[in-house]
Symmetry: C2
Subunit: 430 residues, 2 copies
């Protein structure tokens, strides 16, 4: 590690890239060793880029070749996003002997294996602390602190947009649509919110965390995901009556050589550490065999928090390039099929009111060997729609395998009284 | 960083040392590079040492010279405690070219400067992650992650014993004495609990964190400390009515070149992150200029969590010895005198009931220019003691400087109606 100046180029000056520029310039006034020497941006008049462009137009270029081949540049910060041009840029940068720092979880989750292999061959750093949990140093915790074979489980709230929406639905009784519009108006949600609300963003992040805990890159699609867009207000009422909170949880656990992983809205007991995290805050809790549970809470997104993590990675490039300890392992893990996971299931039925519904559901569940733990049909959930009366009722099952419940639901969904498919919410049961 | 075996000696096989031995032996079965080769313990028949001694008597020695001079030992783990023999051992170990890993906060806080200087000269690691917050990786966070000049404040609950006692007093209405006895019976408090309940343990830890954030070793005594042994149940009742929780807070902040630091029981709003941490759990929250607030929560003590941090440090000795970034700074910080700190003070008066008390107190406070924010005298706090009736009443002041309040209290304490000195509890006011 030397104290020589680190020459940095930022590729993509949007919200995060411009934050990185701000932090670098602030640190420079305090004698920091980082110097910003180039910015790759094809729209320097954009709202984030413009202030820097007006001050230092000579920093800007739209030619990425000139950056990756510039012998004066040590580190390229990739804050472009997406997997096409960003991938090319990272590859070319590593091939030309640059260190790369990225906040791009999509790129890591889908192309991480190849890019890290390339970085290893090039003996360069490819660092990505900012890709999960913004300012939260979860990557370092998993890579450099905990003994990896000791990690038994990771539970995270790693998407601030959905956590904000869930908090608003719970606390202020907003419908999903209203809460989403509000999040968009406040800049907490993108105009196309699909990646967030469907859980895909959280899944990219969990794929990265699983790699750090096991050394394995699971195919993103192998991890079961459900979003939050099918949740309705009665679900929050029910959860509260059960002393629970609904959170979109990214989950990983390891037992012997079997892995479990999913992204699901879960009911968590309200005293659970993760149940207490509200708004756009992120949390990652790691359960270790010896360390017990360590949880880190902080701003999971935003220009400055994310930039703070990126700048920390830039400093880290001064250190030697070393493989993380887990690469020494040769354990092969298997992802357990989702149908074998055990949950305590809560089912919401939206049905056309008629005699015999409870009887039919009860009988069908019993046929599959499933026991009922709690059942509730409340007067306020009678709805009149067209010629029909609709009712909602909710039912919690005793812990059982996912596959069993799916079979029973499949059968119940075909019943003529069902106004829409059964909605399933789950609780962990260990 | 090589994959060669790291040969380790543990000095002191008490609760933590024996935990380290357990983790090393467990990891060895998974192909870890750490091997335990010696144990320094003059009482191998003690309850923690005995199981290992019976299995591997040949590992044990009571001659520390044989360990520090053994060319086959790479790392010495110091889990002896105290500052006399532990200091000699660490010095001798570093002089003989061993890396040292320690969990000893007393030693660090009082002798850290000299020992780290010696480690630098010897080009050896002297690591101490386990000295603060047990399994919580707060040392690494400050040393390697956050840009140090960006750290604006650190707030911690770093003593599990006192947090357990405070939780019991608050939730179960136990007196301080009963809660302490219970903590001792459960093994959460030592037989001589002075270091914990007086806040000295927390002060050692905060001294270490301040060093990491500033590069300066403050003299331990320079940091204002108050313990929890003068808190009474009416204080918790009052705090709850004010929607607050009482916590023993280790505090550090930096503004320009001025530092503030203290260990005090504080009233925290109940929605404050630290107010929600109960029982023996630890939390450290770091406020950064760009990272916003990052908090880490986990087990702050205990054999296995602490051992987990020590083993992490042992692995770290494989990396190069590098000075942490802050050593490059030449900023000199000044500790602001405690009398200039601004708090919102709550005063508890234990007085002999007689006419004119409120009038006298009000007049005295006004004379010093202090405004009253809230005042409460409740019927249930009338006590009959000997020939006298005693009353408790409680008063919260508007935010003002500590020195001003101290002067007013000094005057009030001399009044004939005071049964004992005014008890002061504080709230942060920013």
């Amino acid at each position: 590690m030397s104290n020589q100046t680190i020459h940095v180029a930022i590729a993509g000056l949007g919200t995060i890239g411009s934050g990185v520029a701000t932090v670098i310039q602030d640190h420079a006034t305090k004698g920091s060793a980082i110097q910003l020497v180039k910015v790759l941006e094809n729209n320097p008049e954009g709202s984030y880029a413009k202030p820097l462009y007006q001050q230092h137009p000579n920093l800007f270029t739209d030619d990425y070749q000139s950056i990756v081949t510039d012998p004066n540049i040590d580190v390229i910060v990739e804050t472009i996003g997406g997997c096409t041009f960003a991938k090319t840029l990272v590859e070319e940068a590593l091939k030309h002997g640059k260190h790369v720092v990225s906040a791009n979880k999509d790129l890591l989750a889908t192309e991480g294996k190849g890019l890290l292999e390339l970085a290893k061959q090039s003996q360069k750093h490819f660092l990505f602390e900012a890709s999960v949990g913004g300012a939260i140093p979860i990557i370092r915790l998993l890579e450099n602190y905990l003994s990896l074979s000791d990690i038994e489980a990771i539970l995270g709230i790693v998407n601030g947009t959905t956590n904000y929406i869930l908090s608003e639905m719970d606390v202020n009784n907003l419908s999903f649509e209203t809460a989403l519009s509000q999040a968009q108006a406040k800049g907490f949600a993108e105009q196309d919110p699909t990646n967030d609300i469907k859980g895909y963003d959280a899944r990219y992040k969990m794929t990265i965390l699983i790699y750090l805990a096991t050394g394995m890159w699971l195919p993103v699609e192998a991890i079961t995901v459900e979003g939050i867009d099918t949740l309705e207000l009665p679900d929050f009422d029910y959860a509260n009556r059960m002393s629970c909170k609904i959170k979109l949880i990214a989950y990983f656990s390891r037992e012997n050589n079997q892995l479990q992983a999913f992204i699901l809205p879960l009911m968590l007991p309200q005293e659970h550490t993760l149940a207490k995290v509200t708004g756009s805050t992120n949390i990652v809790a790691v359960k270790g065999k010896y360390s017990d549970e360590i949880s880190i809470v902080g701003k999971g997104a935003g220009s400055h928090p994310t930039a703070s993590a990126i700048v920390s990675d830039i400093y880290k490039t001064r250190g030697p390039v070393v493989p993380p300890p887990f690469r020494e392992t040769d354990v092969l893990y298997q992802l357990k099929p989702f149908s074998e996971y055990v949950f305590k299931h809560t089912l919401r039925f939206d049905a056309y009111d008629q005699p015999g519904i409870v009887g039919h559901i009860g009988t069908t569940l019993a046929k599959h060997g499933i026991n009922i733990y709690a059942l509730e049909q409340l007067p306020q959930y009678h709805r009149h729609s067209g010629n029909e009366d609709q009712v909602i009722f909710t039912l919690t099952l005793e812990a059982c395998q996912e596959g069993l419940v799916q079979k029973a639901i499949e059968e119940i969904n075909t019943a003529p009284y069902m106004a829409k498919s059964v909605f399933v919410l789950r609780e962990l049961c260990h």
